[in-house]
């Protein structure tokens, strides 16, 4: 944890090597998270690049109020929403359990990406459920950090996870895939 903070301080001073080390430490988790949000490999790579550019430019603004991983995934989430929706992420008090009626391009793209059945079904989840599943199980963040990134209580994170799992089980059952 302290390593990340010192690494970020070096990035803030303009050390490109530190940015490379930071990227190496987080690339897999960030990419997995963005892949779930974007549903498309190329788009996820673009957002990852946007994210690292934002990190490079905004590293000086890291005040240590959160952990580095919370800060990083918060930036990634914001960049993803800008890129995918052209707008900032929804406010935390958005309706929690309402499915997104409009199928975005990512839903279509995940099928083409040839992911696993579960990954494909995760792509079918509404935005807020997919976001939390990707943060907790793909990026491997603790529930409290996921809650901080999403700006919701930990209880909401848990309930979204339960809903996501139930929805996923239904989807896989209709597709005839054993859970």
């Amino acid at each position: 944890m302290d390593d990340d903070v010192t690494l970020l301080a070096l990035v803030a001073r303009g050390d490109g090597g530190a940015l490379a080390r930071l990227y190496q430490a987080y690339a897999g988790r960030l990419f997995g998270y963005l892949l779930r949000l974007a549903g498309d490999r190329m788009v996820a790579e673009e957002i990852l690049q946007d994210t690292m550019l934002a990190v490079w430019r905004a590293a000086g603004g890291f005040a240590g109020a959160s952990t580095v991983s919370t800060w990083l995934f918060g930036i990634a989430r914001r960049q993803a929403y800008y890129r995918l929706r052209g707008q900032p992420p929804p406010a935390p008090f958005e309706p929690v359990d309402r499915a997104d009626p409009a199928p975005g391009p990512e839903e279509l793209a995940i099928a083409a990406a040839g992911g696993s059945p579960v990954a494909g079904a995760v792509g079918d989840l509404p935005d807020h459920q997919r976001d939390v599943v990707a943060l907790v199980f793909v990026a491997g963040l603790p529930l409290a950090e996921a809650a901080a990134i999403l700006g919701v209580p930990v209880g909401t994170v848990k309930s979204r996870l339960h809903h996501a799992r139930a929805a996923l089980a239904r989807t896989l059952a209709t597709q005839g895939v054993p859970e």
Partner: protein, 287 residues
């Protein structure tokens, strides 16, 4: 135990709690299935590998090429900088000619008893002709360049009005001050200023609207014609028609003329944001 299964699956439990759940899982198949179902949500086996370290190179390159992020707010000194930039676009002939004509007016008025009347002839036409040349593709050497900047045309117009009309206002005030000191008008400074202020504002505003709507030539022509009518009305053509009478009513400093001038200026600022920058049919938009 159910409460802890989710945390266990995410890896968020501390060591002692995890040991407890481990012990429970060893003898409970449904809970083991539960954990597996949770972890299946994060199935990353089919994920493509993340981009390699070359991504960081691309980021650094983008950052170097992109330069500093664009300023989204204008700095506090923007108005001052705009004023300075626009001042450099005013051709020196305009302020010099204005000053010379005004000096001539002062020289003429100094010998008369009615200095205010003389200045009321000179100041409005000087200002109106200066305003007429304020804007337009043929008058402004940097017209196309300025039209391509993100600054709103209305703001540019207002800046130029402030420059040119402000300059003429200062000139006329200075001339009035000189004449008042010389005692060339029995009414003093107030009477002199009163004689030219309203006509100057109204004629300039009219000239501005015509310059924006039609062209600088039309604006200058109309300004000169109206000015001539006023000269005739004030001179030897006394009481010869309703038109001259109307001109004399309009040609005064009162609330009506000031309001009309303000309304015409607002109309010009409104018009300038709507029309095509270069008034040639279909020059910028397909129609």
């Amino acid at each position: 135990m159910n409460e802890h299964i989710l945390e266990y699956a995410t890896g968020a439990l501390d060591d002692t709690a995890r040991a407890e759940v481990d012990a429970h899982l060893a003898g409970c198949a449904p809970c083991r299935a539960d954990v597996a179902a949770w972890r299946a949500l994060g199935d990353v086996r089919a994920d493509p590998a993340p981009p390699g370290p070359e991504l960081v190179h691309q980021v650094l390159l983008r950052s170097a090429l992109g330069g500093p992020p664009l300023a989204t707010r204008r700095p506090a000194w923007f108005s001052l900088a705009l004023l300075r930039a626009e001042a450099r676009l005013v051709r020196p002939a305009v302020p010099i000619a204005s000053a010379l004509v005004m000096a001539l007016g002062v020289a003429l008025a100094a010998g008369q008893g009615q200095a205010g009347q003389i200045l009321a002839f000179v100041a409005p036409v000087v200002a109106a002709l200066g305003i007429a040349g304020l804007y337009g593709p043929r008058r402004d050497p940097a017209f196309e360049l300025v039209a391509a900047t993100p600054t709103a045309p209305g703001l540019i117009l207002l800046t130029r009005i402030a420059l040119v009309f402000g300059y003429d206002l200062v000139l006329a005030l200075a001339a009035s001050g000189v004449l008042a000191v010389l005692g060339a008008d029995p009414g003093g400074l107030v009477a002199i200023v009163d004689a030219w202020l309203g006509p100057m504002a109204l004629l300039s505003a009219l000239s501005l609207v015509l310059a924006v709507w039609f062209s600088a030539d039309v604006a200058a022509g109309v300004a000169v014609v109206l000015w001539s009518l006023r000269v005739l009305a004030g001179g030897f053509l006394d009481d010869t028609g309703w038109l001259l009478g109307a001109v004399r009513v309009v040609w005064a400093t009162n609330a009506g003329t000031v309001l009309a001038a303000a309304a015409l200026t607002a109309l010009a600022v409104f018009l300038i944001g709507r029309g095509e920058p270069i008034r040639r049919h279909g020059a910028t938009y397909p129609s």
